[in-house]
Symmetry: C2
Subunit: 199 residues, 2 copies
């Protein structure tokens, strides 16, 4: 692709919505075929006719292409805490947070999420980043529970349990033969967790 074409495409994107999404799709494709380590931000941008500069207007680095959704996911969890009835038990608040979070993952997103996960599964540093993401969400969720007056220990445990349910249900949702929605899977996993504690 000539420099002129790349520049022209680069200019076009200023008005075009979904540039971040295009970069994200291109990145997933390259990470999957060449490997995460072997792919540069420049290559990602160029593969969809964009410049490196455009890439860095959307993402701080190539890793963040995979973790851009963290803030939105965190906000969804916290919005779910807010929307729970005032007298809800800690686990009922967590259930509300889980419902809000799962709403971000309709079935249309499953194929994208599967491709993202297969990139992460192949790279220990990305797996650590994912663990860190979920640990941060658990911390913020516990803070939000404490702000509702839940005592410290109960808040920590309810938040950690919520993140465990999310992670477990999410992993099932991504399985190749899985047809159920993330919402159904979260319900099932949460139900199983509560049943376990009762026996």
């Amino acid at each position: 692709m000539s420099v002129a074409v790349i520049t022209r495409l680069g200019r076009m994107t200023r008005w075009e919505p979904g540039t971040a999404k295009r970069l994200q799709e291109a990145a997933l494709e390259l990470f999957a075929t060449r490997g995460f380590e072997q792919t540069t931000a420049t290559e990602i941008a160029q593969s969809v006719g964009l410049t490196e500069r455009t890439f860095f207007r959307h993402f701080s680095d190539k890793r963040e292409v995979l973790f851009q959704g963290q803030q939105q996911l965190t906000e969804a969890f916290l919005a779910g805490v807010q929307s729970a009835p005032e007298d809800a038990s800690p686990m009922a608040v967590v259930a509300s947070a889980l419902r809000a979070a799962t709403a971000l993952f309709p079935d249309e997103r499953r194929s994208h999420s599967r491709r993202r996960q297969s990139v992460i599964d192949q790279n220990p540093a990305l797996q650590e980043r994912e663990r860190h993401k979920l640990a941060s969400i658990a911390t913020l969720l516990a803070d939000a529970l404490r702000e509702r007056g839940v005592d410290e220990l109960a808040a920590t445990l309810a938040a950690e349990s919520g993140v465990t349910v999310f992670r477990t249900a999410f992993a099932r949702w991504l399985r190749e033969d899985e047809q159920r929605s993330l919402t159904d899977l979260v319900d099932e996993v949460l139900h199983e967790l509560l049943a376990l504690a009762r026996h």
Copy 2:
């Protein structure tokens, strides 16, 4: 210290028990005063009159000084699974695993564990290593539960809950003003987790 003295001390350690322990204590001291990144394996060894070669006979790198106990901890969890009665519920098996694991941390070890934790708290890469350690233990614990015939989902959730209880109780045990034993704290945290699920 002269090379001759270092060599002599190095030789002595062949017969001396507790070389790994001496290196570990020296490492913690240096990590705490100079910082983890700023300390080399050679400096750790030399600070107790040992050679770099001796250091590497005991540890693959300086980070492993902090994580050497992982295998012993994992084995304790798994031994606790083995020793649970055959008809124990998944959470009862996990409780047995927790009891076996906490036996590794009598009160005499608290001061050492606190110093280790303060090194880890100052370094994000070490925090990730610690998360990875606990995630690995959860995976092996889940496998051990499945081998007892617990179904996959219940095994995963019980194992994750067990590790959450351990991590939470352990963090409390390390608090400056905490006097209770790790065993008592694990009991309290496990009890709280089970109570949460019942409301």
